[in-house]
Amino acid sequence: MRALRAIIHSLWKRARFERELREEIRAHIEHRADDLVREGQTRREAVQRARVEFGAIEAYKEQCREASGLGVLRFVNGFSSDLRLAGRRLSAAPLFTAFATLSLAIGLSVTTVAYSLVSGVFFQGYAIEDEDRIAVVLTRWEGKLVNGGISTPDFYDLRETQKSFASITASAVFFPAIASPSTTELMRGEAVDGAYFQTFGVRPALGRLIDQQDVAQASAVLVISQSLWRLRFGADPKIVGQIAAISGRPFEIIGIAPKNFEGLAHKFKAARIWIPLSAGPRNGVSRSPDRNRPHLVVAGRLAAGASVELASAELASIGANLDVAYPRPADPKASGPQSRGWVAKSLTMSMMGCNELILVTSEVRLELVTVGRGQRHGASGAAGCHVDEVCVAQSEPAELGRCAVAGPIDHEGDWWRKR
């Protein structure tokens, strides 16, 4: 009875904290908006500007929780009660326990073997420096998380506002025809901004890579992959400085990418060439200023001390501010406009195309929670706070980073073209 009272008290305390925090931040924004209205802005403009000036609301909320000790409290409460309840349930049904343990063991073994194989085959000696510090920005589109759904103006706003990434870059996928001495063929290319190679810490195998100056001057320059250099140019050591025709337009080859660097997609969708983003329009790469033309793949190197979760919270907040300022088109499957729903995802996970892995992991988690849940309602009668929190979290943008991974992910950089 005392434990039940403690749980209820803890839940009540947390709910009150969240309510007051929300109200306090709203009051801050309203006060700032009042000042801006006095300076001559309309109420709508003033509120929008006040929200932007406040910064990443969800990230600051999380910091407030940490500062108040509730971040730790939540973890300890959830973990210890899950553990206790699962233990009680398992000891009450030994046959079920044996079956559950066996199925989990088989599931985990298969997953581990698959993960090890994929990791061994696809990520051996990958050329990106500290690739675990690279995160890709995914966008929610009609219920799916997609890679490559950010418009040029949104990217500029994101780049200006964000603090989670030490360096952030955008690229667009295109499919040009490349003429080499032996043949002309269509292949996958990436039009990149000046920060692309620097963000990934990639160094050229030969020559140099695309930099800020190339993008600023819209130079017709080209970097080719090591495999293309070997297969189509016979590993010619004097290739730097030669001209290659891309969709009929001459580009100067300035460098060869290092071995094992093939862009942001996985092996089967490897990029073979890179050109400056600004040199792209005549090759089918859009630079549309329209916010409803989401065509950029955005990725960045996490700043020191920043995590994927923190970056997700910040992205969700920036996306929510942009949703207010520049609403997206209506969602045919729901009422009202679609939110940007930006989520950061580590590059390693994003590239693997490992929906199955994530779903298996989610199922394992679900099973564990279900084991605890059944007992929680049956024996103690306590509210299933942990599971309920997950359900609530799915409607909160800041929590998407944690919850949305179980949803389908489109790994096509050019997903919007298929529409």
Partner: protein
């Protein structure tokens, strides 16, 4: 992290908040404006970064809070200094002044004085 974001020396944001609140109870936005007034606009605290610092000071028992109505007739959470907060402000102000004196004297040392 908040201090890094605002470009203020580590630890000084807390001191500025304590000083601002010592001049009269204020809500979050009021504290921000008071800090800007006190520093002549030289130091700009990023708005959102203020709140983690306020919650930390509240948790340490240096600030007390109560809900009230602001001059704009809006419901707001007001912060005021506790006895422990006043004591901490005094200690940190003394420490800061002492450090400024030491650094000032060190940086103004002439060759003949060494």
């Amino acid at each position: 992290m908040a201090d890094e974001q605002s470009g203020i020396l580590p630890g000084t944001l807390d001191l500025l908040i304590l000083k601002a609140v010592s001049l009269g109870q204020l809500h979050g936005y009021g504290i921000l404006l008071r800090v800007q007034q006190m520093t002549g606009g030289s130091l700009t605290v990023e708005q959102g970064a203020l709140y983690p610092a306020l919650y930390r000071l509240d948790r340490q028992g240096l600030l007390d809070t109560e809900w009230g109505t602001s001059d704009n007739n809006r419901r707001a959470k007001f912060y005021k200094l506790t006895a422990a907060g006043r004591r901490r402000l005094r200690e940190q102000t003394d420490g800061w002044n002492r450090m400024v004196g030491i650094m000032g004297s060190a940086l103004n040392t002439r060759p003949g004085e060494v």
